[in-house]
Structure formats: structure tokens, C-alpha cells
């Protein structure tokens, strides 16, 4: 769920954000959220996954994808 909020920021900061958003093909909103998360977000602790989680030796199915994403299976 998103919460709408309004803040006043210096014009120079806004101009800089707009330029960066245009240059990187993203939005000002995405840049602000990313910056806030990086600065104030809780650091995530946990264990690194160190290898595949499904390690069986059984034969895979005929529709196991090789290169392309099987969108037809995802959306069917």
C-alpha cells in the first residue's frame, strides 16, 4: 500500500533528481524511495544461499526452459 505525502525540497535538488531520472530511464519517485530505503531502511540479516535449493537427480520435464522465459506456462 502506498501513502501519499508532500514535502518541499530545494529546486536545485528537484532539478538534479529530474535529470537523473531522465538519464537513467526511471522516475523521481523511484529515486526518492531508493534513497530513503538505502539511508533509513532496516539492514537485512540472513544467510546467503550458497547453491541451488532443488538438488534432486530425477529427470526434468520436457517443458523445462533453456533460454527463453516460458510465459505461456506462467500465465496459463
Amino acid at each position: 500500500m502506498a501513502v501519499r505525502t508532500t514535502v518541499d525540497i530545494p529546486k536545485s535538488v528537484h532539478d538534479n533528481l529530474r535529470r537523473r531520472a531522465t538519464r537513467s530511464g526511471t522516475s523521481i519517485r523511484a529515486l526518492i524511495i531508493r534513497a530513503i530505503e538505502l539511508t533509513y531502511g532496516e539492514s537485512k540479516s540472513g544467510d546467503y544461499v550458497r547453491g541451488p535449493l532443488v538438488t534432486g537427480s530425477g529427470k526434468l520435464g520436457p517443458r523445462m526452459p533453456v533460454d527463453e522465459n516460458p510465459h505461456d506456462l506462467v500465465l496459463s
Binding site: 529515486l31 544467510d47 532443488v54 529427470k59 520435464g61 517443458r63 523445462m64 533453456v66 533460454d67
Partner: protein, 148 residues
């Protein structure tokens, strides 16, 4: 910090040891810098869960839904991995990604363009084994790499 956005097939390769690209996918993941982050979207979450539980895909290694969720949740416990929901502006970016295909009946590209749009919305690099998708990304100014 660099964000990477693996597509569904790369998540499958990372998750299933006998996937043809599993070794390449793991070489890529292990080579990431400590500050790099890897993101999941609702679509790649859905795709991973769907494919892990699909007999035609997983064959004798097919998972139950409960076990597929365990795999997904284990990924999310990894400090490198984060879930990124769509932003409110997503439709515009999605539409822009598909604009070059406006005159074509290109159903496969709907899913692929979703992936490109999500990568762009998050300023992330798409990770895919799909050569055609890599070429499309390069031609239209999206950042994309193959795992290796």
C-alpha cells in the same frame, strides 16, 4: 549500489541444480559485488512458483506448492535478495517498453517487456539467458546481461 533483476528462467537456473544454465547462473551470482542487490518482482515470483510446481517443467523433481514457497522464502532470507513491488508509474514504463512492437502480434513479448519495464523502473540490470531479449534490450536502450 547496482541492482540486478533476473528473469524467471534465471531464477529457475539458480534454484534447480540440473537446469542447463545453473552453473552459469551461480557463477554470475557469486561474482556480484557485496553492494549489489538482486530483486524479484511479482511476475518473477509468480513464474518461479508456477514453474517449480509444474510437472511438465520439473518432471520427476516437481515440487508441491508448500515446498515451492519454502524455496521462494529461502531466497528472500538471503541478504542480497529483495522483493520490489511495481510503482504507481509502472503502466507508463510498461507501455513504453512495448511501443516498438505496436504493429505486431507479439504475445511472447508482453511478458518480456514487463521484465524490461520492471528493470527500468528500478534502475536495475535485467539478467536473462534469452538472446532475443538481450538484443531487444540493447536495441532499445535497456540494460541487460547474460549470466556467466
Amino acid at each position: 549500489m547496482t541492482l540486478f533483476f533476473p528473469d524467471i528462467n534465471v531464477w529457475l537456473a539458480l534454484s534447480v541444480s540440473s537446469h542447463v544454465h545453473s552453473r552459469d547462473a551461480w557463477t554470475w551470482l557469486e561474482a556480484l559485488s557485496p553492494r549489489a542487490r538482486v530483486i524479484l518482482s511479482r511476475y518473477t515470483q509468480l513464474g518461479l512458483l508456477r514453474l517449480l510446481t509444474n510437472q511438465a517443467v520439473m518432471g520427476e523433481q516437481v515440487l508441491t506448492i508448500r515446498k515451492a514457497w519454502i524455496v521462494y522464502e529461502r531466497w528472500l532470507k538471503d541478504p542480497r535478495i529483495e522483493f520490489e513491488a511495481e510503482s504507481g508509474n509502472f503502466d507508463t514504463t510498461f507501455r513504453e517498453a512495448m511501443a516498438p512492437l505496436d504493429s505486431k502480434p507479439a504475445s511472447k513479448w508482453v511478458g518480456d517487456c514487463y521484465l524490461l519495464a520492471h528493470a527500468r523502473e528500478n534502475n536495475a540490470v535485467l539478467v536473462t539467458c534469452d538472446r532475443a531479449l538481450l538484443e531487444y534490450a540493447d536495441r532499445h536502450g535497456y540494460r541487460a546481461v547474460a549470466p556467466a
